[in-house]
Amino acid sequence: MRTLTVLPLLALVACDETIPTDPDFPSPDNTISGAVVVSFPGEPATAIILAGRADNPLPPNGTGRPVTLTTVPAADFSQANGVQSADYAMNGLPDGDWLLSGLIDVDGDFHPNIDALGGATCGDIVGGHIVSLTDTTFAAISVDGGNEATGITVTLASTLPVERPAFFPLTATGAPGIPIVERDRAAEPQGFALQTTGVHAALRRPDGTPSISYDLEGPYTVDPESPAEGNPFGLAPSPVYDVFSPSCDTAFFVQFLDDDADGMPDPHPTVPGVFNSWPQIGLTWVGVPVDTNADGTPDAFSREGHETEEWAALSVVSPTLLQAGVPVGIPVLMSQLPVVWVPAAQRSTPSTEADCTGTWANDVCTELVTTPAALPTGAWAITVIESTGQTWTVPNTLATSSSTDAAGFIPALQGSFLLVE
C-alpha cells in the first residue's frame, strides 16, 4: 500500500510546467556593450557614452538628442602605449538602430541633466562607434528582443580644438537682448545676430550653497591686425574673422561649404536660396511669453492652442559674411555671427497614418509649413550646432545662475530667445 501511494506522488512531482512569459509586461530593453578605447596621453578621465537613434542622429549629423547614456569612471581605465581602454555597457535601449557617440570629459564639466552643461568642451576627446579607423562614419547598431549586442567598440580619438559656441543674441541695434522678427515682413530678409560670450556661472543648491561651477573662457576676440599663425591660405587680416587656429575661447566655427571645390559656396540641401554652411542654427518654438507674477517681466511660456505641437525651424548664416571677406570652403573663427531668419518651419503632431498629410512615423505626423502666417508667434529657442557637434542653446538654465565674473558673463542674457511676432 505504501508503494502504491508513493508512486503517484512521485508522478505529481514529475508533472512540471513551464513558467509562462506574461505578455502584459513591456519588452525588455536591450544592451550594447564593448570597450571604449581612448587615444589620450593624459590621466584617465570619466568617459561618457551617448546613444542616439540612427534615424535622428546627434549633432553634427542631425539634430537629435541622446536617449540614454552611460559612464565609465576614470578608475576603470587601463593604460598602455598611450591608449586607454575600459569596458562599458549601455542599458535601457528600446528595440531599434542606434548610434553611439562619446567623450572623455577631461575637465569634468559635463552634466547630462543641466541643458547648458550637456556638451563636450574644448580639449575633450570625442568620437563614437565608427565603421573603421579609416571610415569615421558612425556605424549603426541594431538591437531587439531584450538582447545584448557585444563587442561594440567606441573609439575616442579626436581632441576638440574649439570651445562650445556659448552666445547670447543681439537686437537689431546690436545690443544684447531679444531679437524680433515679424511674420508680416517675411517677404523681406530679416535677421538677427549672435555674440559669443565667456561663461562663469555658479549653480546653487536650494539651501544656497554652490554645487557646480561652469567656466568657458571667452569670448573669442578677432584680431584684425594679426593674420592667423601659419596662414596657409595667405588670407589677409580681417576684422570679421580669423583663419582658424585652435582656440579654447568661445567662438563660432564658421565655414561656407564647397564640397564640389568650384570655389563657390554650395547651395543648402533643404532650404532654397541659401548656402550650405556651418554652424547650423536651429530654432524650436517654446511658447508665448507670459508674466505670471505681473512684475513686468515674462517668467513663463504658454503653449495654449498648440499643446501637442512641436515646431522646428532652420536659420542660416547670413551670406553677407561672404561680402565681408569670409573665404569659401575654409573654416574661420568669429565672435559675432549674423543669421538670416527663414520663415518656414516643420510641425510635428501626434497622428494616425491615415490622418497625416505629411511624413508619418512612430505615430507622429511631420509637415513643412512655409506660410509665415501659419507659424506660431512667441519665443523660439536658438541653438547653434558646430561642425564639431558642439552646441549651445538659449534660453537655458544658466539664466538663473550666479555669475562669478560679472564682466565676462551676464546670466540673464542666457534667458534670451528669438521673438516672432
Binding site: M1, C15, I19, D87
Partner: protein, 844 residues
C-alpha cells in the same frame, strides 16, 4: 493550456484507495454533543447525557468529557464504569489527581461494598458476645474503614466544586439484607456537578491572556488547525484570505502583502505579525517575509487575527491589526510526516516530532517548501541583456526550515520554555514603485526563552536575519547597482505579570509589564555607501485592566513606547472597551482606541540612489529622523453570538481616522557634480515625509459559521469597507481595497473517511492610484483599475487505513484560472494563477 496540468488531478486520483468507514473528529461537532449532554444532565436525563458525552468523546477526546462520562455513570449507579472513567480522567489530566483521587476512593469503596454480599446475623439470647469475628464482619469492617478514610481525606482536602459531600441526616435503621452503608449517603452530588469547560473557544491575542471570544475587547477572528487541515493550504497568507476585513495582495507567488481594514499597499507595514507572541517583522523593512517563517502549517494550532488597533497591547506597528500565529503546545497532537507536490513547481515536506513526560514536553520540526513563479516578465533564456539575481529565476520561493522547543514545568507553578528556529529562504518580493521585484536570500534565526512562575513571566527573544537582496532581473553592469547585503538583529526582553482580585461585587484583572527592544542594522548599502551600523533602543510599559460586575466588563489598556526619534507623547496608545454579556453565549462589544506605526529604519536613515532608467542619472532618497508616527483612531461596535451549538456569528461596524502616513515627497531638482562613487549624476532629491492627506475609513464585517449536522461545516463572511482620502478639502475614494468582499465555504467530513471542502472568495473591483515619478520628477497619481475577481478552491481527502493515520489529498486553489490567464491583485504584479496539489500526511 499545457497538457501536463491535467495530469495532476489524475496523478492525485491514482493515489486514492477504496473508502472505508469514516471517523472524523471536528471540535465543533464535539462541542455540539457536549452541550447537548450538559443540557440532558441538567434535566436529569443521565442516559441521554451519557450518550451525548460519549459522542463528544468519540468525536474529539477531551479530559473534561471523560470526567462527565464518569459522573453520568455515577448518577446512573453504574459504579464500575464510573470508576473506570474517573481513573481515565486522572490519567488524561494528571494535574487533577488531587481532586479526583478522593472521588475514586469513595467510588471504589462503594463499589467494593456493593459487591461484597453480607449474611444476616442470627439472633441469640443474651449470651456473651463471641470474641471471634466472622468473615462477613471483617469484610464489612474493612469497607467501613475504607469509607471513613475516604471521608477523612475528603473533609481535609480542598473543596472541589464538582463534588459536594453532605453528611448523612441520621443513622441508618439497623441491619439489612445487604450492606447498609452509611457512607453510601455521604457522597451526594451537589449541582453543578458536571464540568462545562470543554471545547470552548479561547483567544489570547486581544488581551495577552486566555479568554472567550465573548470576552474579547477587540474584534478577533480565528483560523483553527482543523480549518487549516481541511483547506489543504500551505501558505499563511492564503489562509488569511478567509478572514473578514483582511486583504491579501499577492504580486508574486513569493510574497503577499497583508492589510486589515484598508490600506492595501506594497510592502504593507501596518499589521503586526507574531508567532506565539514574538514579532516576526523585519524592522528595517517594516514587513514580514511570510514564506521565510520557520514554521509550517502543520505546527499551527490556530491563527488569531485582531482587526483594529493593537498598540495598547503590542506597541508599534499593531496599527490596523495583529496576526498571531499560535503553534501547538509541545506534547499536544501526534507526530506527523507530510509531503506535497503540484503545480506550479510546488514541492515540499515536513516532519514534526513531539512528546512529553511528567515535567517536560518537546517539539521538533523540519521542513522545506518551494513554489514556482506565476509568470515571468522576461524570458531569460532568450534574453542576454538581463541577469537574474538568484541562480534560479523560476522559483518564487524556496525555504528550508527547522525549529525546536522544550517546555519544562517546575515547582508546581513554574514553566520554562526554550526554543530555537532557523529558515534559509530564497524569495521573490516586490519592492515599492519603480524598484519592482527583488530576489532575497535570507537566513533567519530565532532564539527565545520564556520563564514564568505563577503570575510573573520573563520573556526574551533574539531575531537574527542575514542575507542579500537585489533586483530580480537587472541590466548588465548598471551604474547604480541595487544589490546589497544586510544583517539585522532584534533583541527583545519583557517582564510581565497579572493578578486577579475582587472588591465587593467587582472582579478585577490586571496585566502589565515593561519591555526593552534593541534593533540593529548593518551592511545595508541603502543607508549609505559606507553601510553604517544603525542602532535603536526602545523601551515600553503597558497595563491592561478589566473590571467585571455582573454582565458588564470594562476594559482599559494603555501603553507608552520610548522611541529614540519620537517623543513618548506621540506613542501613547490607549484602548477602552465595554462588553455586555446578554447571556452566557451572546455579547455586545463597544471599543475604541488609538495605535501607531513608527517609521522603519529605512524611512528614518535611508541614503540611497534611485535609478531613473538612464544609467548614470539617479534620484537621491533620504530618510528623515524627524518623522512622526502614523496614527489611527478607531471606534467600533460589535455583536458576538454563540447561543447554540449549531452556529456562531459576529458582526462589527467600525470607523477609522488615519493621519501622518509616511511616504515619499516630490522630487526637488538638483544640480550636483559627477559622483564617481555613484558612477553618475544626481538629478534630484526626495525623502520620506509625513504626507498631508488624512484618511477616513469605515466598514461592516460579518462572519458566521453553521454546524447543522455531524460532519458538515458551513461558513461565510461579508465585508464592506471604504477609505476616503482627504487633502486640501478634496476627498477621493481609495479603492485599492475592494469595497465588497465575501467568502463562503463548506466542508463535509463524510462517514467514509473522506473529507470534501470548497471555498469561494469574491472581491469587487479595485482602482489603484499609483504614485509614480513623472518626467518632471514629481510624484503624480496614475489611476490603474483591477477588475472584480473570484477565487474558487476545493479539496478532497481520504484516509485509506482503518486507523486513519494516513491521509491523502488533492486540492486546487484558484480553479477559475485554469480557464483563463488568472488575475492581478496589483496593476504591476504578476497574474495569479491556479495551484493543483497532491499531499500525503501521516500521523503517528
Amino acid at each position: 493550456m499545457p497538457r501536463q496540468r491535467w495530469l495532476l488531478p489524475i496523478c492525485g486520483l491514482l493515489a486514492l484507495a477504496l473508502p472505508f468507514t469514516a471517523q472524523a473528529d471536528p471540535k465543533d461537532d464535539a462541542r455540539r454533543h457536549f452541550r447537548a449532554g450538559l443540557e440532558a444532565a441538567r434535566e436529569g436525563d443521565f442516559d441521554g447525557a451519557l450518550e451525548r458525552f460519549m459522542a463528544a468523546q468519540d468525536t474529539y477526546p477531551h479530559p473534561v468529557t471523560i470526567y462527565n462520562i464518569a459522573r453520568a455513570y455515577q448518577d446512573m449507579g453504574d459504579l464500575d464504569n464510573a470508576l473506570e472513567y474517573y481513573e481515565l480522567y486522572r490519567d488524561a489530566d494528571p494535574s487533577k489527581a488531587d481532586d479526583v483521587d478522593p472521588v475514586i476512593a469513595v467510588i471504589r469503596a462503594r463499589r467494593d461494598a456493593q459487591n461484597t454480599p453480607v449474611e444476616a446475623e442470627a439472633t441469640t439470647p443474651a449470651t456473651a458476645p463471641t470474641t471471634t469475628a466472622s468473615s462477613a464482619d471483617v469484610a464489612r469492617l474493612r469497607a467501613l474503614v475504607g469509607e471513613m478514610e475516604a471521608l477523612v481525606e475528603q473533609i481535609t482536602a480542598e473543596p472541589d466544586p464538582a463534588v459536594a459531600v453532605v453528611a448523612p441526616e441520621g443513622p441508618s435503621d439497623g441491619p439489612t439484607d445487604t450492606v447498609t452503608d452509611p457512607a453510601a449517603d455521604l457522597l451526594i452530588v451537589d449541582a453543578p456537578s458536571f464540568q462545562d469547560d470543554a471545547y470552548e473557544r479561547v483567544v489570547v491575542t486581544a488581551s495577552r491572556f486566555g479568554q472567550s471570544p465573548l470576552e474579547s475587547p477587540s474584534t478577533i477572528g480565528v483560523i483553527t488547525a482543523e480549518d487549516i487541515r481541511l483547506s489543504g493550504l500551505t501558505t499563511i497568507p492564503d489562509l488569511l484570505r478567509r478572514v473578514a476585513g483582511v486583504d491579501v495582495m499577492a504580486k508574486s507567488a513569493g510574497h503577499s502583502d497583508i492589510s486589515i481594514r484598508g490600506f492595501n499597499r506594497e510592502l504593507s507595514n501596518k499589521v503586526l505579525v507574531l508567532v506565539d507572541g514574538r514579532s516576526t517583522t523585519l524592522d528595517f523593512l517594516g514587513t514580514t517575509l511570510w514564506n521565510g517563517l520557520p514554521i509550517s502549517v502543520d505546527e499551527i494550532d490556530r491563527i488569531e487575527v485582531i482587526r483594529g488597533p493593537g498598540s495598547a497591547v503590542y506597541g508599534a506597528n499593531a496599527m490596523t491589526g495583529v496576526v498571531n500565529i499560535i503553534t501547538r503546545t509541545p506534547g499536544d497532537g501526534g507526530n506527523t510526516v507530510s509531503f506535497n507536490a503540484g503545480t506550479p513547481g510546488i514541492v515540499g515536506g515536513s516532519a514534526l516530532l513531539t512528546g512529553r513526560n511528567e515535567n517536560d514536553a518537546w517539539r521538533l520540526s523540519v521542513g522545506w517548501q518551494e513554489h514556482d513563479r506565476w509568470g515571468s516578465e522576461v524570458d531569460l533564456d532568450a534574453t542576454t541583456s538581463r541577469v537574474g539575481f538568484l541562480e534560479d529565476t523560476d522559483t518564487a520561493y524556496r525555504t528550508l526550515r527547522a525549529n525546536g522547543r522544550v517546555d519544562h514545568s517546575f515547582l508546581d507553578k513554574g514553566l520554562a520554555s526554550f526554543s530555537g528556529s532557523f529558515s534559509d529562504s530564497d524569495v521573490e518580493i516586490y519592492n515599492i514603485g519603480v524598484l519592482g521585484n527583488f530576489g532575497t536570500e535570507i537566513l533567519q534565526t530565532v532564539l527565545r526563552t520564556d520563564v514564568g512562575y505563577g503570575p510573573v513571566l520573563l520573556r526574551a527573544f533574539w531575531n537574527h536575519d542575514v542575507g542579500r537582496t537585489g533586483p530580480w532581473v537587472a541590466p548588465l553592469n548598471p551604474a547604480q547597482s541595487l544589490d546589497t547585503p544586510f544583517r539585522a538583529d532584534t533583541f527583545d526582553v519583557e517582564l510581565s505579570g497579572n493578578g486577579d482580585y475582587t472588591t465587593g461585587p467587582v472582579e478585577h484583572r490586571t496585566f502589565g509589564g515593561v519591555g526593552y527592544r534593541r534593533k540593529e542594522l548593518r551592511d545595508f548599502l541603502y543607508m549609505g555607501d559606507d553601510a553604517p551600523t544603525i542602532t535603536q533602543d526602545h523601551f515600553n510599559a503597558f497595563v491592561n485592566h478589566e473590571s467585571t460586575v455582573g454582565v458588564v466588563k470594562l476594559v482599559g489598556s494603555l501603553r507608552a513606547d520610548a522611541h529614540p526619534l519620537i517623543p513618548v507623547s506621540r506613542t501613547i496608545s490607549p484602548r477602552a472597551a465595554a462588553i455586555v454579556r446578554i447571556d452566557d453565549d451572546r455579547a455586545i462589544r463597544v471599543n475604541g482606541g488609538s495605535a501607531f506605526r513608527g517609521p522603519t529604519l529605512i524611512e528614518s536613515y535611508m541614503n540611497f540612489r534611485i535609478p531613473t532608467g538612464v544609467d548614470g542619472v539617479y534620484i537621491r532618497d533620504f530618510g528623515s529622523e524627524t518623522l512622526l508616527p502614523e496614527r489611527i483612531l478607531t471606534a467600533e461596535v460589535g455583536y458576538h453570538d454563540e447561543s447554540s451549538a449549531l452556529h456562531t456569528a459576529d458582526v462589527v461596524v467600525y470607523v477609522n481616522q488615519i493621519t501622518n502616513l509616511i511616504g515619499l515627497d516630490s522630487v526637488t531638482p538638483t544640480a550636483e557634480p559627477y559622483e564617481p562613487g555613484g558612477q553618475g549624476w544626481e538629478a534630484g532629491r526626495t525623502g520620506w515625509v509625513n504626507t498631508d492627506p488624512s484618511y477616513l475609513g469605515w466598514g461592516v464585517e460579518a462572519e458566521g459559521e453553521l454546524f447543522p449536522v455531524d460532519g458538515v461545516d458551513l461558513y461565510g463572511t461579508v465585508n464592506i469597507s471604504s477609505v476616503i482620502e482627504r487633502e486640501a478639502g478634496v476627498a477621493v475614494a481609495d479603492r485599492s481595497t475592494s469595497l465588497f468582499k465575501t467568502t463562503t465555504g463548506a466542508s463535509w467530513r463524510t462517514p467514509w473517511r473522506t473529507d470534501i471542502s470548497a471555498d469561494l472568495q469574491v472581491y469587487s473591483n479595485q482602482t489603484w492610484r499609483l504614485r509614480q515619478f513623472d518626467s518632471a520628477g514629481q510624484i503624480g497619481v496614475s489611476p490603474s483599475p483591477i477588475g472584480a475577481r473570484a477565487i474558487l478552491s476545493a479539496r478532497i481527502a481520504f484516509r485509506p487505513l482503518p486507523d486513519e493515520k494516513l491521509e491523502l489529498s488533492v486540492q486546487g486553489w484558484n480553479l477559475g484560472a485554469l480557464a483563463s490567464d488568472g488575475f492581478r491583485e496589483h496593476p504591476t504584479g504578476q497574474r495569479v494563477r491556479s495551484r493543483l496539489t497532491g499531499a500525503l500526511r501521516y500521523t503517528f
